[in-house]
């Protein structure tokens, strides 16, 4: 199945892309998507302890199931306001 990956701020700069799709084996969770990302960009692994996860633009967990066509985002610590 195909999943859209969204990255922001420092994580986006590290990977060099803000939005792209990857083929993920089903059944999958947000953690499966993260694993595909760190396999491709090992330096991203450093962000795992401090990032948040969103599935379809809603806060989720690494254990959240992911379906075909979903958008999965990995978010560095937020700093708005």
């Amino acid at each position: 199945m195909r999943v859209t990956i969204r990255l922001f701020a420092r994580l986006r700069d590290l990977v060099g892309q803000t939005e792209f799709t990857r083929e993920i084996a089903a059944p999958a969770t947000a953690a499966s998507v993260w694993q595909v990302l760190v396999d491709e960009y090992p330096a991203a692994r450093d962000h795992e302890r401090t990032m948040s996860v969103a599935v379809n633009a809603t806060y989720a967990r690494l254990t959240t199931p992911v379906e075909d066509g979903d958008e999965v985002a990995f978010l560095p610590p937020v700093s708005g306001g």
Binding site: R6, F8, A9, R10, D13, T50, M51, S52, A54, A57, T58, Y59, R61, A73, L75, P76, P77, V78, S79, G80, G81
Partner: protein, 160 residues
């Protein structure tokens, strides 16, 4: 043109317009408070030249609605709105405006403070600071909205 209660925008913010929008509910309201966040010229000893804000727009609007719903649980009848600006902001410009209207001032002040504390915890917005000698992504909080302890902390600050 009606002013939305939540927005992520690249245009200059208007606190008075948002205050009017939350006050439009009617004659039962007795107080409206506003909070305006500004770009400061210094941060942890660095001279700040300008900030670039970035948002996960679709998610940020949803999180703003979550914050509004939380505030309505704490302060029934509260009318809360917030607009966050993104893109390049110069020193002195407003990055966020929050307005809260209520029958009484205590609720309006508290809800406004609660909203900015929750923004700092959970709103998916990031600032890229350009300072004298370099630039850096600022990293603040990693909080899930369901984290009851973080929410309790924001509420305690709001009611202090």
């Amino acid at each position: 043109m009606s002013v939305p209660l939540v927005a992520i925008t690249t245009t200059v913010l208007d606190a008075a317009a948002l205050a009017s929008a939350v006050s439009a509910a009617g004659p039962g309201l007795g107080a409206v408070t506003t909070f305006v966040g500004l770009v400061r010229d210094h941060n942890v000893g660095r001279r700040v030249h300008f900030l670039e804000y970035e948002a996960y727009d679709a998610m940020a609007l949803g999180v703003m609605d979550v914050i509004r719903a939380e505030a309505a649980e704490h302060w029934p009848g509260i009318r809360l709105g917030m607009h966050h600006r993104i893109g390049r902001l110069e020193v002195g410009e407003a990055s966020i405006v929050i307005a809260a209207a209520s029958a009484h001032r205590a609720d309006a002040f508290a809800a406004c403070r609660y909203a900015i504390e929750r923004v700092k915890q959970i709103l998916p917005v990031w600032k890229h600071e350009h300072f004298e000698g370099g630039d850096v992504w600022l990293e603040g909080a990693t909080v899930h909205p369901d984290d009851a302890e973080a929410r309790r902390k924001a509420y305690a600050i709001a009611c202090a």
